[in-house]
Symmetry: C2
Subunit: 265 residues, 2 copies
DNA sequence: CGTACTTTTGAAGTGCCTCAACGGTAGTGG
DNA sequence: CCACTACCGTTGAGGCACTTCAAAAGTACG
């Protein structure tokens, strides 16, 4: 009987640190997930460290709420993503995590996680690789919100979602599930829901995307990529099995004003 | 002879994972830093992994340049901060690092770093703690840029700089060095330099800050903190020796719309 | 078949940007 | 010592991207 690997395994294969047995061990971890409905806090800012959570299916997010009630979504959690791998080291969560759709969530006891992460194993290396990719995505979000106008911000988000779902086998070449509300997207991008609605119309009219019935389609990936200068390197996808999709930048950036480089003597 | 500990040691003491000997070992690493002038790229996007860099003195930053030449500063690197601890695991740098002022930079060979980080030691734990705090700061920057208006953004940045310098012994209770140009600050905050200049005037006129001759003074920390809802928990400073400065929020946020919590059965 | 939540569209306001000019300061070389 | 250059900070005027407020149509659910 052939079993499809868990999203966690599919994602961590991109790290290059896993072998076949590791994949099987990770799949075993993901047996028996728990179903959680949409709009539920999985962990809350300030909670004491408990079991570690892993999204096996569905869409969730990290977020912070400011005192005036505004919410900023700090990142998306898709199948194969850990919610709070780091909680035990930091000892206190500095943000919350909520489901955006119904989710299948795996809970791992701290003890299991410590055994996997503290020993110098291939799996530990792959876990840290995953955490570092998450950090890289954070940085790209900062640049996205800080520098791009609304339409490009949205376009950039859609490309990321498609690629991240693709790497865990949940998307085909240019279409995927996309169940976000306008409010969700506005909180990810630092915009208002009203403005997201208008910008979405622009993107549709420009034939860059179609989005309806929770389904996203990017009919012309090259044009969309050029439109928002999407450069997929920040996702650190392995070059190995990426033959089907070509998402890299056309070349290194050549326009920046030159800054001298510090080279070893 | 009494030697003041290195910024790295002072910072990692907040983790709670170090003992006295560990501190001495870290201080030894920081001997013989290298002097680098202002405006130099320490590492560049796409560079192959080389030695790991650590700021021992001065101000530097992570940044990304978009194809149209705009630069987003992704984070500040202050004394005690690692520039690229993660480069070997990810295998390719997804952003660049540049000095903002003349800096003293320590270079550590990959081999040394691997020995320190891959083994299950107290120092390895403290290093990861440091990386996770950096990640937490990233998230706060995202919320800052995404949700706050310009004046609060700037005020928030100043508080962070003061506290981060304070934790490595480079600031007193409410004043510190602050050598940023308007352009630097605009690139950190997703604003233009012109607008930063105007907002800075507002903050001065409101007697919330004084900033001149590269010196920042926050004469009324409580008012400033209230002004921009600064909540220092994201810096994960140890509660232990923080008696001198009280920067926490007045209480957990109570204004957010309620979201149900997912509790273990 | 109501109730609650989305999405859409309009009209008006504003925070921030762009363009432009000018003053201050530091470093350089005559 | 004074020119000259380069960069940084300040201020003004005008414009645009995005927000706010408001109303109505579409959609999901018990």
């Amino acid at each position: 009987m052939v079993v499809t690997p868990s999203p966690l395994t599919l994602k961590l294969r991109h790290s290059g640190y896993l072998d076949e047995d590791d994949g099987a061990a990770l799949d075993a971890l993901c047996a028996r997930p728990r179903m959680v409905e949409a709009g539920i806090d999985v962990v809350r800012e300030g909670d004491p460290p408990g079991p570690v959570h892993l999204i096996d299916d569905g869409f969730a997010c990290r977020y912070k709420t400011l005192p005036d009630g505004q919410r900023q979504i700090l990142g998306l959690l898709l199948p194969g993503d850990f919610c709070d791998l780091q909680s035990s080291t930091l000892r206190t969560l500095d943000h919350s995590i909520a489901t955006l759709t119904p989710c299948a969530i795996v809970e791992l006891p701290q003890k299991t996680v410590d055994e996997l992460t503290l020993a110098p194993t291939r799996i530990a290396r792959a876990f840290w690789w995953g955490a570092l990719v998450d950090e890289s995505i954070q940085r790209e979000w900062l640049a996205n919100i800080g520098q791009r106008p609304a339409a490009k911000r949205l376009a950039h988000l859609f490309q990321e979602v498609l690629l991240r779902l693709h790497r865990v086998g949940r998307a085909d070449a240019h279409a995927c599930e996309c169940p976000f509300t306008l409010s969700d997207m506005s909180e990810m991008l630092g915009l208002t829901a009203v403005h997201v609605s208008r910008v979405l119309r622009e993107l549709r009219e420009a034939r860059l995307i179609t989005l309806s019935q929770r389904r996203l389609d990017l009919p012309n990936p090259d044009r969309l990529r050029a439109f928002c200068d999407f450069d997929a390197r920040y996702l650190h996808l392995s070059g190995g099995d990426a033959g089907e999709l070509r998402w890299g930048a056309d070349g290194p950036d050549g326009t920046g004003r030159s800054r001298r480089h510090f080279v070893d003597p």
